[in-house]
């Protein structure tokens, strides 16, 4: 078996195992909810790293440095977009909690001109 085939096989088997573990833990509710969320996100992050290395070969081949550079740029943009959206919208929901929907519309109309 060549090293390339071995690399794909390792990535495949590890991915299947990680997915199955996450699925079974959620299906049987093996932990309290908060613990489960942390665990399945952790398993997913490990699996992403495994697939980036064994399937996408991110660190090898010609131009590996540029691939990693663009990957980190995308990663930063993704963190800002996802983190920022959730942060802002949660704050907005929190600030608006004390109003009914009608009062919210009235408030937006009076103060923001929307």
């Amino acid at each position: 078996m060549s090293s390339a085939v071995r690399s794909y096989s390792i990535g495949f088997i590890v991915s299947i195992v990680l997915t199955a573990v996450a699925f079974l833990m959620v299906e049987h509710h093996a932990l309290p909810t908060m613990g489960l969320i942390v665990t399945i996100v952790g398993l997913a992050v490990i699996q992403l790293a495994i697939q980036l290395i064994f399937f996408l070969h991110i660190g090898s081949g010609s131009g590996a440095r540029w691939k990693i550079a663009t990957f980190f740029l995308a990663f930063i943009v993704i963190c800002i977009v996802v983190g920022g959206s959730i942060w802002i919208m949660n704050n907005l929901n929190y600030s608006m909690l004390r109003y009914t929907p009608q009062e919210q519309n009235q408030y937006l109309h009076d103060h923001e001109g929307i």
Partner: protein, 194 residues
């Protein structure tokens, strides 16, 4: 001759990098859809929530199909590089069947949701769900079309170096879609039923 070979090598690495940058921008596109989904997840407008809608074992089978297809397309690329024409086409056929089964299962899930009155018009949550998962499904469908083109080209013209390069890019695209699906499986489905 040697400089020719070098030039070809540089061209293909430039193409790989260009395609890689496209994939990274596509990642950002999916990130915006994930952010939208995360924000709208609770906005069910009196309709069903993710906990009531999702059938986890069904989605697990979908995930299994896509993961396996990611492995088989890797085998197709390796066979093409080694110069085995019929083996390359064989792995591509397997990948195509797995990908087609995945899309069929996804469309069946969508059809059930719509038939029960839970379409994208039902709530903000379902709009975000259909947009995110549907965009991924559309990418997979484009990948399947690309795969048909590659199978025909290789079957007719053999393994020319240009086609091997294109097949490698298709492999990159397919692995990327598998990674996006792992995020969808974890964030939308697994966390959705908790």
């Amino acid at each position: 001759m040697a400089t020719d070979m070098k030039r070809v090598g540089q061209e293909s690495s430039t193409k790989t990098l260009g395609f890689w940058i496209y994939i990274m921008t596509d990642c950002v596109l999916f990130a915006t859809l994930f952010a939208t989904y995360a924000v709208l997840h609770g906005n069910t407008f009196g309709g069903p929530s993710s906990r009531q809608l999702f059938d986890l074992p069904y989605v697990f089978i979908e995930t299994f199909l896509l993961l396996t297809s990611s492995f088989t397309i890797g085998m197709a690329v390796l066979s093409a590089r080694a110069g085995y024409k019929s083996r390359t086409i064989g792995w591509l056929v397997v990948t195509f069947i797995l990908g087609l089964s995945f899309v069929t299962m996804e469309l069946t899930e969508f059809a059930h949701l719509v038939a029960d009155g839970n379409s994208w018009q039902r709530s903000g949550f379902l709009s975000a769900f259909f947009t995110l998962v549907g965009t991924h499904g559309a990418h997979i469908s484009v990948g399947l079309l690309w795969m048909i083109v590659m199978m025909i080209r290789i079957a007719k013209g053999g393994l020319k170096s240009m086609d091997v390069g294109r097949l490698a890019l298709l492999g990159l695209f397919w692995h990327f879609l598998d990674i996006i699906w792992i995020c969808i499986f974890t964030i939308v489905y697994l966390m959705g039923v908790l």
